[in-house]
Amino acid sequence: MSTTRKKVKLIKIDADKCNGCRACEMICSAFHATPKYSSNNPERSRVRVIRDPLKDVYLPVYAGEYTPSECKGRDKYVIDGKEYDECSFCRASCPSRNLFKEPDSGLPLKCDMCEDEEEPLCVTWCLAKALTYEEREEEREEEPQLGEIETGLEALVKKHGLQKLMDSVARLSKKG
């Protein structure tokens, strides 16, 4: 494999500045609707604000990789006297919680940094500046890129196994 210089996109999260309005969730789900902006639904958002106002917990978390299994151990964090529930900082779409799953299909969601936009739209909509955008360049080994369908299929394969999936596809294509 060869190495290339790659642009790394980064969202800096200043949780102290979060006002808990969830505009990030709204705009994310609207941007990723098909057609674009035709609907919105925070449950489809790839960023969620973990909120517990009475404990002053305001924590925007982004959807990362799908994982088929739960973690063996769980962690609770206490920072500045505030206790964060287990999994609060985790980006994974996983079986242990309902976060980052398409509400209809249950398929995992993943933040794509709003690809073609100047900056992720959650950043644009965060006037509180809890979310800010940064870019930097990094040396990277090249990896094959997966398209959206492949990402979904890969998740299904991990969940159900390749054979089951192929059987299902065969059955579906017969129904025509």
């Binding site: 006002n19 969830r22 709204m26 705009i27 919105n40 925070p42 909120r51 106002p53 006037l127």
Partner: protein
């Protein structure tokens, strides 16, 4: 497919325990938009004037505004409508927060309650699954506490809960509905909720909300977002801090309270303390506020931070907004701000209106001082001001002893107490307690708003037009230079010519006709907001807001696909305003009720005041008793209203 709205209401019959999902009539959306408009239509159709507030036939409607849950910033309002136990007229209290968008995502525009539950219940809405659940274990629990308990019980932190506290359960006339950082407080709707046996409504929604013209709509939303950002950098000069920016008054952010503490009245709306705000007070109050405030917080999809998390040692955390910060201190004559934050915590858990309740307590203390209430009524009450207020609050929400009488508000309490007590219930409009504001010279614009506002609450009518003239022409010219919000350029001239003193000053300038024009614009914007579910803090309340009469029609068209222009939107606002008026006329509202508190202004002008009211009624298309005429109702497609008013003898 429905756009912006879901096209479905939930009908809950509490007596029978029946739940139905009912499709709405899209024609009504065009005519009444949504929110307050369609709430009022439902109440007009289904609650005849004979129905008492605490009758099973009274409805309690939780409506979302037409644009709620869409990407429009600040579109998050719940409009709760019912008959007020205090005024006997329509109550429509509103709250921001997160409840209304969640209801939209669950697939409903409104929840309509009728009947009464035999035992205390809560409603749980999770998309298509709707359950009436037992709430007897939540009896007496705090309004904030209840929200947390229900989220735990249902094992979902993302559920949004609107709940009442003890005050609502005991049908206290100032009982509120609390939800997150927000509350629907005015006019006793929490009492109606308690009377129906509803402790809370819990909602969770995970469905899509659709937009008719997505790209157009998003462009408008982006413009508004950009405007908010720019406007926040450009406070309006020459007005006090809370009126310079956007949002509801930024009481949680600002610590400078010179204006409120020295211009608003203390006690039972009696005493101005013109030297109150000393350096020492400022330092102490700033430290108290900054110590108590953990974070400034927002409602759903709104960049303004009008609320705050308040946390003080030895009490549970709660959320606060706006003027409740000061109402208890000022009513109780307590100079330590920490008292205000502490008693407001208890009051929020009890679920009471932070405007009326302190005033009722100050009224009681005054009656005690005057000997109209006696030591026997206050047996066991501490002698210090703080102690008196805590004691009274506990009695009122439990309806114990004198608290049972006070729980009906100052108007009804004074009637029951008698012996001259009526003179102490001096700060009411239509039986409802007002802001403790006592001024010198009559302001004709405010006179009309106080008299005719259907909600009897000035903050829900005022806005857009400066409260006072700017002293210099330079300031005025600067102000009007980017005043794109005016419906017509004549409003700029009104402001340019308005002087502090002399011929073109209050009370004769703005002239009668100008005053009517200005009031019409101000209330029109509120009626639009209340139908769309956009927060007044981004629209009708502040100066130069992001939403106005020129961009609103575009928002409605792009969101719903309904063709809307300024003329049609103005007509819809007029329709809603007129329907509320007709509803209240049918319930007994008369011209004689339309007056500010006697002592609101020192300098009064009876002849001018009559002219103002005459001109306002005429402009609205009402007769000189304030009743909408047949012709007006016909123009508004409301012949069904005139037929009813005619049948009941209100119209010839």
């Amino acid at each position: 497919m429905a756009y912006a709205e879901t096209g479905f209401n939930l009908e809950i019959d509490l007596t029978r325990g029946n739940i139905e999902r009912v499709a709405t009539d899209p024609k009504l959306t065009r005519l009444y938009l949504g929110g307050l408009g369609t709430n009022s239509k439902i109440l007009w159709d289904r609650v005849p004037p004979e129905v008492e507030p605490f009758s099973p036939e009274n409805l309690l409607v939780f409506g979302t505004g037409l644009l709620v849950g869409t990407p429009a910033p600040g579109s998050n309002r719940t409009i709760v409508s019912t008959i007020s136990p205090q005024t006997g007229l329509m109550a429509y209290s509103m709250m921001g927060g997160f409840w209304a968008p969640e209801l939209k995502y669950a697939g409903y525009d409104k929840v309509i309650f009728r009947g009464k539950s035999p035992t205390l219940i809560y409603l749980y809405i999770h998309n298509d699954k709707v359950e009436i659940r037992d709430a007897t274990h939540l009896h007496g629990k705090g309004a904030v506490e209840t929200q947390e308990l229900i989220k735990k019980e249902l094992k979902d932190p993302n559920i949004q809960v609107a709940a009442i506290g003890l005050a609502g359960e005991n049908r206290v006339f100032t009982a509120s509905i609390e939800q997150g950082r927000s509350s629907a407080s005015r006019l006793g709707i929490g009492a109606v909720m308690g009377d129906k046996g509803i402790k809370a409504i819990a909602v969770r929604g995970t469905k899509d909300l659709n937009i008719a013209k997505p790209l157009e709509y998003m462009k408008l939303c982006n413009e508004v977002l950009k405007y908010i950002s720019d406007r926040e950098e450009k406070p309006v000069p020459g007005v006090m801090p809370i009126l310079a920016g956007l949002g509801s008054p930024q009481e949680m952010l600002h610590t400078d309270e010179k204006w409120h503490t020295e211009n608003f009245s203390w006690g039972n709306s009696r005493t101005r303390r013109k030297e109150f705000w000393t350096k020492e007070v400022e330092e102490k109050w700033t430290a108290t506020q900054e110590g108590a405030r953990t974070r400034l917080i927002s409602c759903y999809n709104c960049p303004m931070k009008c609320g705050a998390i308040i946390s003080l040692p030895g009490m549970s955390t709660y959320m606060m907004k706006c003027f409740s910060k000061l109402t208890y201190n000022m009513a109780a004559f307590v100079d330590d701000l920490e008292f205000g934050f502490r008693i407001a915590q208890r009051a929020t858990e009890y679920g009471v209106d932070g405007f009326s309740t302190p005033q009722i307590m100050a009224f009681a203390v005054e009656l005690w001082d005057a000997g109209i209430l006696t030591d026997a009524d206050f047996e066991g009450c501490p002698k210090d001001n703080e102690g008196k207020f805590y004691w009274l609050l506990d009695r009122i929400v439990r309806r114990e002893g004198i608290g049972d009488i006070l729980a009906d508000g100052t108007h009804w309490a004074a009637l029951k107490i008698g012996n001259g007590a009526e003179a102490y219930a001096h700060n009411n409009i239509k039986k409802h307690e007002q802001l403790p504001l006592k001024l010198g010279m009559l302001n004709p614009i405010y006179f009309l708003m106080y008299c005719t506002g259907e909600k009897s609450n000035i903050t829900q009518i005022e806005g857009q037009f400066p409260q006072a003239p700017f002293p210099t022409m330079e300031e005025r010219e600067e102000f009007v230079s980017d005043w794109v919000h005016v419906p017509d350029d004549k409003f700029k001239q009104y402001l340019l010519d308005w002087e502090l003193r002399g011929e073109k000053s209050n009370p004769y300038y703005p002239t009668v006709d100008m005053s009517v024009d200005i009031v019409d614009w101000q209330e029109k914007m509120h009626y639009i907001d209340d139908a769309l579910g956009i927060c007044a803090g981004l629209s009708s309340f502040p100066l130069k807001p992001p939403y106005h009469i020129h961009n609103y029609p575009k928002f409605i068209s792009a969101a719903t696909g309904i063709d809307m222009d300024e003329a049609e939107l103005s007509l819809a606002a007029k329709r809603n305003r007129t329907l509320l008026r007709a509803f209240n006329i049918r319930r007994g509202l008369t011209r004689a009720d339309e007056k500010p508190p006697e002592d609101h202004w020192r300098k009064r002008f009876p002849e001018l005041e009559e002219q103002l009211l005459d001109a306002y009624y005429k402009f609205k298309g009402w007769n000189n008793q304030g009743i909408p005429t047949k012709e007006t109702l016909h123009e508004l497609d409301m012949d069904y209203v005139s037929a009813d008013l005619e049948q009941r003898g209100f119209l010839p």
